[in-house]
């Protein structure tokens, strides 16, 4: 009984640490996005609250906490009310097997990457519930488009992850990192292709520019979360930036060697790689224009999916003739 209680206490501690990390990381990323976008557009961004606006996100959280909750007339109340849960809870659950270091992981599941992919897919439900429940035309269109986009890009995303699983021969996140001790995966040509497909589809998965049709401000106001205010809006925002960190963390683990690296402690390497990818995607966001809906869908089905399927076959062939 005692080892059981010990491990339960350890699990609670890890949970609190993960939750703290999620909250701080989301706030940091929101601040970083504002600063990076400001620099790219030759502005300075938030400067007043704290050193270079570092406390701006904290001030925003307090403001959102105090904002009135507006239930739109004709809303499907329970669907509308539960949607933030369906979006934010999966984003927190993914941290069960996010490998920050050789022992800095909550639980190294033997189906790690499969678990992560399946749990993140649940957020599509939340997005569609938000769109449907809001009783708003913009929300409905945003939710529909978002669901179509996310499921379309899920296919090349999973196919590129499949290539990594074939190479590593395991689904465990730590196992995939250990398989890269001989050389990081993106150095091999077939895995570099998979890495590029992964980055493009993951950008679409989190609805970021150039794939931000669901939230295209100039046509759909704010997409599926148009009718959300206060803390409910904040939950969508936290989930969005947590998912952003998750895709960068998965990319770092699968292709860039995860926490592997010389000299510095392993969590530093993991965070360095993840935030490097995040910075790159922010740079992309504030550089490229938005794609059109039909261009985006045909790019997923006619461009990325055939290439990803071919990549699976080529990788299989390379591995079979090698061993």
């Amino acid at each position: 009984m005692t080892p059981f209680l010990m491990e339960m206490a350890w699990l609670v501690l890890k949970g609190v640490m993960a939750l703290t990390f999620i909250a701080v990381s989301a706030m940091f990323l929101i601040w970083l996005e504002r600063k990076v976008s400001a620099r790219i557009q030759n502005r300075v961004g938030p400067m007043i609250t704290g050193f270079h606006g570092a406390l701006q996100s904290v001030a925003d959280t307090v403001k959102l906490l105090l904002k009135e909750n507006i239930v739109p007339t004709g809303a499907d109340f329970w669907v509308w009310w539960l949607a933030p849960f369906f979006v934010a809870v999966p984003a927190i659950m993914v941290f069960v097997c996010m490998p920050f270091g050789p022992s800095a992981i909550v639980c190294d599941l033997n189906v790690g990457i499969l678990f992560m992919c399946s749990v993140t897919s649940v957020s599509v439900l939340g997005i569609f519930m938000a769109g449907w429940g809001s009783s708003n035309k913009y929300s409905l269109l945003g939710g529909m488009r978002s669901a179509a986009q996310i499921i379309s890009y899920e296919v090349p995303l999973l196919l590129s992850i499949l290539v990594v699983v074939m190479e590593a021969g395991t689904l465990s996140m730590q196992g995939i990192v250990h398989a890269q001790e001989a050389g990081w995966f993106f150095l091999k040509p077939n895995l570099l292709v998979a890495f590029i497909i992964y980055i493009i589809s993951a950008t679409a998965e989190v609805n970021r520019v150039p794939f931000d049709i669901p939230e295209a401000e100039s046509e759909l106001v704010a997409g599926y979360h148009t009718e959300y205010s206060g803390m409910k809006f904040a939950m969508f925002f936290v989930a969005e930036y947590t998912n952003f960190f998750i895709i960068a963390g998965i990319a770092a683990t699968l292709f860039l060697g995860g926490w592997l690296g010389p000299l510095a402690p392993s969590p530093v390497w993991f965070l360095l790689k993840a935030y490097g990818i995040i910075f790159f995607l922010m740079w992309v966001r504030w550089t490229l224009p938005r794609l059109r809906m039909d261009q985006m869908m045909s790019f997923a089905w006619k461009g990325l999916t055939p290439v990803a399927l071919l990549n699976v076959l080529v990788t299989g062939w390379l591995l079979v003739i090698k061993g």
């Binding site: 080892p3 491990e7 699990l11 609670v12 949970g15 939750l19 959102l64 906490l65 105090l66 904002k67 009135e68 909750n69 507006i70 239930v71 739109p72 007339t73 004709g74 849960f85 934010a88 809870v89 999966p90 927190i92 941290f95 022992s103 909550v106 639980c107 190294d108 809001s134 009783s135 708003n136 035309k137 929300s139 409905l140 269109l141 529909m144 669901a147 499921i151 379309s152 296919v155 999973l158 499949l162 699983v165 074939m166 021969g169 689904l171 106001v221 148009t226 009718e227 206060g230 409910k232 939950m235 809906m293 039909d294 045909s298 089905w301 399927l309 699976v312 299989g316 062939w317 079979v320």
Partner: protein, 121 residues
């Protein structure tokens, strides 16, 4: 460290943690926020115009087609994942089996493409 707890305990714990996190944020905000709804304030946002009609509109059939194709591909990938883990130990035979499977699927994609299911007007 994880030796006694089954693998699903952390997953369940994190699920509850997430629900608790979102729920407590809602409760705190419910205690602090003003509550003064009015019919204008609660009207669905339509750029300030008076709302016309319902939001439960008919949407494009394309969304269903995309969802159908997605289900086929998703199930296929789910079949492929166990194969990807072990095929290196099973050699050429396992590889050729999967080539046949993926080729059949690719033919399905070509069929959907030719039929125009992937077009988006």
């Amino acid at each position: 460290m994880q030796t006694v707890l089954p693998d699903y305990i952390p997953i369940m714990f994190f699920c509850l943690l997430g629900i608790g996190f979102v729920g407590s944020a809602f409760v705190v905000s419910w205690l602090l926020r003003p509550k003064a709804p009015s019919s204008e304030k609660c009207a669905p946002y339509e750029c300030g115009e008076i709302v016309r009609g319902t939001a439960r509109i008919q949407f494009n059939i394309r969304f269903y087609l995309i969802a159908l194709i997605f289900v086929i591909f998703d199930v296929e990938i789910l079949f492929t994942i166990p194969w990807a883990v072990v095929f290196q130990k099973m050699g050429m035979q396992a590889y050729l089996d999967m080539v046949a499977f993926i080729v059949v699927l690719a033919l399905g994609l070509v069929y959907a493409w030719k039929k125009g299911a992937l077009e988006w007007q």
